[in-house]
Subunit: 224 residues, 4 copies
């Protein structure tokens, strides 16, 4: 799995701070970005304290994601406040050899062998169907969820914070959690202030909104 | 494949007409819904003529969709101005025996046999992995795109018109086109005025925004 | 101010419960709605405990709102996951006599007089401009924020819960708070289970995500 | 009125082309951005010809807008697939002296005088109410629609193309049309390929989807 930050709004922290500044003061637009780093930090903290999330939307991040399974991409695109471009199995030839092996399979030698053989078989069937004249868009019906894909994903910082809240959680499915942590790592490199408090509620707030007694990290709140 | 209209905004046409009436006149809210069928029809036509689409958003339709492939559901959920609840392969036991066979496969006996055998094998592998202790959420990585799913889908009339425009088109993938036509049939039963002009641009406008020379129905416009 | 629930998804609670049922079980779509009230309640509670909010989107509510100020409507439409139709000041003749008086003005006799005189003057200027040939869409530039408007607003239950969380809060501006409480009252009449835990965080969770020491109801959490 | 492009996705055209390339080919993510300008142009043209709009969403543009009326900002924020931060009349002191005069008023001396006097009066009443102890958030109820505001607005290229389609049209209200043209001018400076076909349908497609006989530029299509 590879997650690469392709592009992002330049000076994302300053951009968010500028929007905050405009809301709270009579600053004109010409000097909106002119402020010291201390002021940028102060304004971002202020937004966080007030729960004023919308200025975080002005900073946008575009990732290329490669080598995630179709099971994972199906989950990811359920976040609707985002933009996606995905390598189409309708148009691009499917390749079952390029796939994701879940850790729970990989660590069981017998399961791993069965899994590998089945994926190889999937590739054979795909190619055989194509050879019989079945169009690519229909041959792909045999491709398993494990087959890998590539996506370009754009989200703004507000939505990213929401995604990290849900998907960095222990309860999230392991593959999307891995994607989320890689995205977060990239974000922190270029916008540490915006993502200072990113992650699951147990890490960020010291609390958990879910009732789930099985979590090793946080026992969950009691039913109300 | 089964598409069932579970619920919808009562009097969807009158509701849309009431919103139009409010925009264009000084009508008070108490009598907003009080008008004859002629007036409802006149207002809906007016909205269409002016390209004023937003009042169509006030009528909402909730469908249960059953027996579509995961390939199809993955496409459907890309329409972001909608609400989805999908049967989870993480929590509900996967069943490869319940799957969709593309017509291009079904009409080639050899392909159909290969396809059926492979799907049966997928079921065996899924169960074998589970028996080895692989959790359900990871065993599903072997399930092919063809495996069927169920969804509850809610869209408003404006978004439905957009979906029908794209997905009832000859160029759309056959399975999502079938879903779209079944949804349209359901909508027309309960709101014929709202969906009078629903469908692909070639049927609705007599024109096609795409340049695609291979369409049997419409030769496509010339490059500008 | 008047808030009237015009239409809503029939059986909103059963609809949400049906979506939950589909996610968590292998229920077919034909019997999806067939369950007792106890089961509806159990499923809605389960969604709430798990923080699984998306099934609440399948229940949609359409309100007519009348007699709110343009200041208030400007705030309301900032909730983007919703549909609005508003009486246009471009097309419908403005009427400054129909306006909202803030309580802080009404309870100060001198302020109330000044306010009333000024609104009357606004009406005169509006009519005078129109008489000079200024189009209605430009004459409205003199109309004050206090001038009243009418809207049709559609939101689903998930977004409504979000709106009630923000706008029923003591810190919300008084007029939009009044609208929110009237909407909540309407919702509770027809879907008490869905809106059982609706309102500001201090009432629902016994906690407040904002740091604001001036709130009479909740002292705010300490800075972390 | 001032419209300033504060920030935008670097290399917006290459970013959109990279997303297209990923959809249509087996390109890996590392070399996704490596292509010549010819290839960028070819891919953007291809997207346009196929009506494949979603890759345009990966390029995001953030504007500062200053000196537009509240009437105009109210219209602008109705575009929901966008992000806004607006100078708050609740927190920032209102200033009726800073306002927008519609051209239809400005060119009628008597109307202009009446308008100016009324706006001056609005400022006096606002200050008088504040002096009586009315909070700023309530005193603003007397401020007319003409009073100017500042906003930070972020939209992606797909939504911008939609906005330009609607708001650069002759039928759009004059002030939002002026904003739209200034935004388009800024966009064209940095992404001429993305916005080559931007503007109203009459200019872009040589056709008009509305039936409106009063347009000087385009007589409108006949009712079907």
């Amino acid at each position: 799995m590879k997650v690469k930050l392709l592009k992002y709004t330049p000076d994302p922290e300053r951009t968010v701070a500028a929007a905050a500044r405009l809301c709270y003061s009579a600053s004109g637009v010409d000097a909106l970005l002119d402020m010291g780093c201390d002021e940028v930090e102060r304004l971002i903290d202020l937004l966080r304290q007030r729960g004023h999330e919308s200025p975080f939307e002005h900073a946008s991040f575009t990732f290329a994601v490669e080598g995630i399974s179709r099971a994972c991409s199906h989950q990811l695109v359920r976040h609707r406040l985002a933009s996606y471009s995905q390598q189409s199995q309708r148009w691009v030839r499917g390749d079952a050899a390029w796939h994701v092996v879940p850790p729970s399979v990989a660590r069981r030698p017998e399961a791993a062998r069965l899994f590998a053989d089945f994926l190889a078989r999937a590739g054979e069937v795909y190619r055989a169907l194509a050879a019989m004249g079945v169009p690519r868009e229909d041959a792909r019906y045999v491709l398993p969820n494990a087959v890998a894909t590539r996506m370009v994903v754009t989200m703004n910082a507000r939505e990213l914070l929401h995604v990290f809240r849900l998907r960095c959680c222990q309860r999230a499915q392991w593959e999307i959690r891995a994607v989320a942590y890689l995205m977060l790592r990239e974000c922190r490199k270029v916008a540490p202030l915006l993502f200072a408090k990113a992650g699951p509620p147990c890490q960020v707030d010291g609390t958990c909104p879910e009732e789930w007694t099985g979590c090793p990290r946080y026992p969950g709140r009691r039913p109300s």
